[in-house]
Amino acid sequence: MTTAAAPQAAPHAGHAPMSFWRKYIFSTDHKTIGIQFLFVSLFFLLVGGVLAMQIRWQLGFPGRPMPGGGILPETMAPGGVILPEYYIQLVTMHGTFMVFFAIMPLLVGVFANFLIPLKLGAHDMAFPRINMWSFWTAFLAGLIMLAGFFVPDGAARAGWTSYAPLSARPDLSGASYGQMLWCISLVCLGLSSILGSVNYITTVINNRAPGMTWFRMPLSVWSLFITAILGLLALPVLSGAAIMLLFDQTIGTHFFDPAAGGQALLWQHLFWFFGHPEVYILILPAMGMVSDIIANGSRKPIFGYHSMVFAIVGIAFLGWMVWGHHMFVSGMNPTLGSTFMVSTLIIAVPSAIKVFNWMGTMWRGNLHFHVPMLNAVAFVAMFVIGGLSGIYMAATPLDMFIHDTYFIVAHIHYVLFGGSLFALFAAITYWYPKMFGRLMSERWGKIHFWLTFLFYNCTFFPMHIYGMGGAMRRLYDPTQYDFLKPYQPLNQFISISAFLLFATQLIFFLNFWWSLFKGKRAEQNPWHDNGLEWTLPSPAPHGNWERVPTVYRGPYEFSSPQVAEDYLPQTRKLPTDREPVLAPVAGD
């Protein structure tokens, strides 16, 4: 890593230029790995989107040949007409790709990697090589999942939750290899996440720059740190469950086989014991990065920093006690339902604290509506809807009615698209200059934002109404039900909005690619932010710092009366600041 003679020098300073392979492919630089995650997960986001468009075609126009569907093989869509067995593959793989290969790696793989060392003043992750393996394992997992579409019988067909015994029995689901690949892929992904989490946690605990105390860490790092703990403890449970499921499919074990004494509900308990912390893995980093961006855009210190931190910890802690709310009508003991209802309702409290603190941050600010700020404010506005609609299903009697309807679909998309994805649009635009040295186009960013905001709400808000009407999820053809037939115009409206929403995302992709080569060159600190990463050139060099920076204050000192400008970088030493006390060196 470094030489004992020059402990302050950057570990890689003075190295010979690296080969293409070491620099871009098998890189151990946390920033390159973050960017690799970015490209790969944006690709999987696109895959998930394409799958969603096919779902929407079938729901809006059941039985009609899909434009361009002619290129699909006979086993999926003969003549472009989607088959029921292909439809449930679409539903399964859309959920799987979006949750595991788009949103999770975009939030954690990209931003935990990119931001943690930069924001803490470290040269790299604690274990750069393990970090590289974490990326390549995730990439492999994605390829394995994608391979599902190309094996006989097609991809997995049991929903992204893969409920046993449907998922465990190829004879009942109709998918043999696809279902196995689903399990293998998630075991790989679990390994990748665990390796990543080990890195993030160790780095945050041990590799902070002098003066970067716990309560001077940006909320983005706090949330990524807590997310890493959730991932570390939740993913192995999924791996264990997926292995059991794989054994049920292949070597004849009976974990989830009721005929031999196995328990179907065991899968649900294991899956949601992982799955609910997973839900917070998918939103906490978004909340953290939005906090950074809202403080920047408001030119004001974050309101209630400590309660924001405690809210993150509180959500993470309570997140382990609410998994049963996915199982109120599963046949689980109803008394457990009461317990899980109370813990679920309580978890609304830290979420509310966060929303009010974001509003408190904007209150009496001087709001700069750059593209990241627009998306961050939209995150707050949309997360509120997703959060509030969660209360309906937390109330057990009401959940008996809306469980497994489109109300749930609306809820999860308000949280994952309205929440996480808007936060990602904000974060990608915000840190893009530090990644690539260029700014994304402001004008196209704003066009993309407003169109997305419009079509997004047109797509997902009506799903609440559809769900209130009792529409079940995962129906290949809802017109089979007389009571759902009148809703078909609504379904077509949703589908057309969804197509426009998808088309709008092409603006983002084009803006992303165009700006890589033609974007305006970014200065060192384009957003006038206080974080350590903005003291580095754009793009930040390998090894980050020549000399480790010293930190004198928290990251949100905007509009401080101590200085004339409206920001005060963490590294700037004012006459009143004292030097931090260094950690004693181990072994001395």
Partner: protein, 226 residues
């Protein structure tokens, strides 16, 4: 990447805010073991749930599994933990010779454990104990038909599923440990690269090894003895 100069491997390579006063590799291993705990909790938890909810009695201890052989194997693994402690103590005193001996013994005991487990598996499978239960027509299936309660015939499928999954994944962890130790032995221990000041590798692999040992003691108790 160039390897750390010995003396700096156990300290942060640059000035840093005070963490937990544990060097990165050791902290990383502790964190990783946290995830391992959750992995085995998932497997063991499922076993407990399935066994308590089983529609019939479990096979009596010792009817299917060979307890004396496994007890010997448990002893072997505990010995390897002791020798690991000795290896660490040796290098903490800068003693290269005893590091080589104790570390080598640890690898031997670990490899022995895997060998005995492989023998146990082949023996069980030959007698008809499979992950799916008792193989039809096998010796065990006949015994179970004669004594359905003693051999837990009704839940043999669950018995096989949980037994092979839990002990199999433990065996996999032991194998990984043996391979990593062998790697360290060849690349670090034999060339004498560890020293009194820098022996992070021994300590970190030792942590893993003790964890795997601890898991086995739990598994041996709940799978073989109860």
């Amino acid at each position: 990447m160039t390897h750390a100069v010995a003396a700096s491997a156990m300290r942060p390579p640059f000035p840093a805010e005070r963490g937990v006063d544990v060097y990165d590799k050791k902290l990383g291993m502790w964190v990783f073991l946290g995830s391992e705990v959750m992995f085995f909790t998932a497997l063991i938890g499922s076993y407990v749930i399935l066994r308590f909810g089983a529609p019939g009695p479990w096979a009596l201890p010792g009817k299917v599994l060979n307890i004396p052989v496994t007890a010997f194997n448990t002893f072997l693994l505990i010995c390897s933990s002791v020798s690991m402690v000795k290896a660490y103590a040796a290098i903490a005193n800068g003693d290269q010779k005893w590091l080589k001996i104790w570390f080598g013994l640890t690898i031997l005991c670990g490899a022995g454990f895997v060998g005995v487990q492989a023998y146990e598996y082949t023996h069980l499978i030959r007698h008809g104990f499979l992950p799916s239960g008792y193989r039809a027509g096998s010796e065990l299936a006949e015994l179970a038909a004669a004594n359905p309660v003693m051999y837990g015939q009704a839940v043999a499928g669950l018995y096989g599923s949980t037994f092979f999954t839990m002990t199999g994944f433990h065996g996999f962890h032991v194998t990984c440990g043996v391979i990593s130790m062998l790697y360290l032995y060849v690349t670090k221990v034999l060339p004498g690269k560890y020293s009194k000041a820098d022996h992070a590798g021994v300590e970190v692999v030792g942590l893993y090894w003790h964890f795997v040992d601890l898991v086995w003691i739990i598994l041996f108790t709940i799978v073989y003895l109860v």
